[in-house]
């Protein structure tokens, strides 16, 4: 199972506590994880990536295994530790004031 940690506002929106666990068929990529996440929680569509272009929203970043994966290609494989469920995939809201 893939483990995903959402920022607090999106956890509240999706009505989940703690980590989300997702089953992903095939290669574990950003796109595959986000597709599975949005299929489970349709309310998150448009909040992490654009509805149409599927581009990551500017103030949302992706981290895993102490690496910033935000600029990786959406179809690039995620680290093995994420694919195996050892490490979570972190969706992070940028730390900007407001």
């Amino acid at each position: 199972m893939i483990r995903v940690v959402l920022p607090q506002h999106l956890r509240r929106l999706a009505q989940v506590d703690g980590e989300v666990q997702l089953h992903v068929d095939g290669q574990v990529t950003q796109r595959a994880v986000l597709d599975a996440l949005e299929a489970r929680y349709p309310v998150l569509r448009g909040t992490i990536r654009d509805h149409v272009t599927q581009q990551r929203r500017a103030f949302v970043r992706f981290f895993a295994c102490a690496q910033d994966l935000s600029h990786e290609q959406p179809d690039a494989p995620l680290p093995e530790a994420v694919a195996s469920g050892t490490e979570p995939f972190l969706v992070v809201g940028a730390m900007a004031g407001g």
Partner: protein
């Protein structure tokens, strides 16, 4: 017994205030959607328990919320706003052309007759509509397709469609306003549009007869006299007696004719309210005195309403969506400030008292009169 429900959108959530017809003791609920910007909350005239809210965030984008129980519980509905066809370009701050990009929903205007139909005014400026209670939204592309889009430009707050007015006596007639493009009218339910800005004069527009480019801040209409419109423009308070075909200035003796909101008394068609603001670079009341101005003559002759409002050291702003009236007798008037106060008057502005003093900055105020 009648009661009122005040819907307040703020920088960090929505709040709902309720009171009986005396409008003296208020119950406040919220924050709903804590931490999110709530640009507008509005109820359906056809079903007052049906509310819609625009919930937005610089991080996570646009969400739409619907309540079927007067704001006690909320359900997220569709949040996909896609421009029809190729979006095209508008003028950017530096005069270059810039592609249309959806940013947020500024204004929600539920249909007068159908709780499932709602118009949404968005930034970058366009008009959308749902007919399924918010599940899906479609652009009414005739507005952006008018042809003047490349001359539209953003104001300091963005290029927003912020005003939608429905004419109850002509079901196909709609008015909208955009900063900074101006006012537009449709007589065929939003299929085609024409600018209605004749008579507006805007500093910085070299053509005194410019068809578009005007920074209209708000338009108000009394439903029993829909041919008469009142406008708070960037500068100037304006009036039209021919459904927008022409405008004339009615700023009269106002201390400054800059401001954002304007509204009409529920029972007196020539009684209107504005909140004068010092200037476009000093967004606070003149002399540190928060004063609503009332005209009982449809403009030109204005009186300051100060009783209960701070008359020293007050430097808040009142934004364009942040004023509303109820339809009780006497008419109630409400407005919210960027300092987080929501003021109410149960006597058409003669006296004021705060409903609540310390909310986040208020973006919008609407009121429902309930039986």
């Amino acid at each position: 017994m009648s009661r009122v429900r005040v819907l307040v959108g703020t920088r960090k959530g929505a709040f709902v205030a309720t009171a009986d017809a005396k409008r003296q003791r208020w119950d406040i609920s919220g924050p709903h959607f804590a931490g999110w910007e709530i640009y507008h909350v509005k109820g359906s005239p056809a079903d007052p328990d049906r509310l819609y809210a625009s919930q937005t965030s610089g991080w996570f984008g646009q969400l739409m919320q619907r309540s079927n129980d007067g704001g006690k519980t909320w359900t997220p509905v569709g949040n996909q706003f896609v421009y029809d066809g190729v979006p095209g370009t508008h003028q950017w701050y530096d005069g270059t052309q810039h592609p249309w990009e959806f940013k947020r929903v500024w204004h929600l205007e539920p249909s007068l007759t159908d709780p499932d139909t709602v118009y949404a005014g968005v930034e970058d400026a366009a008009l959308f509509r749902t007919t399924d209670g918010g599940q899906t939204w479609q652009e009414l592309p005739g507005l952006r397709g008018h042809g003047s889009g490349p001359k539209w430009q953003p104001g300091a707050g963005g290029m927003c469609l912020h005003t939608i007015v429905q004419d109850p006596s002509h079901p196909g007639r709609l008015f909208i306003a955009i900063s900074a493009a101006g006012a537009f009218r449709s007589d065929d339910a939003g299929k085609t549009w024409r600018p209605v800005n004749r008579g507006l004069k805007s500093e910085g527009l070299p053509d005194p007869k410019a068809e578009v480019g005007h920074c209209v801040h708000r338009i108000a209409m009394h439903p029993s006299r829909p041919g008469v419109l009142f406008m708070q423009k960037h500068w100037d308070v304006m009036r039209s007696d021919d459904a927008g075909d022409s405008w004339h200035e009615v700023s009269g003796n106002l201390p400054t004719d800059f401001g954002f909101p304007i509204d009409v008394h529920a029972h007196e068609r020539d009684t209107i309210f504005v909140v004068p603001i010092k200037s476009d670079s000093e967004h606070f009341p003149p002399d540190g005195k928060l004063r609503v101005y009332r005209s009982r003559t449809g403009g030109n002759e204005w009186e300051a309403l100060t009783n209960g409002l701070p008359q020293r050291d007050c430097y808040v702003n009142v934004l364009r969506e942040a004023m509303a009236v109820d339809s009780l007798d006497a008419c109630g008037v409400y407005f919210g400030t960027t300092g987080g106060q929501v003021y109410a008057s149960a006597d058409a502005g003669d006296t004021w008292a705060p409903i609540v003093r310390d909310l986040p900055a208020v973006l919008s105020v609407e009121v429902q009169t309930l039986e």
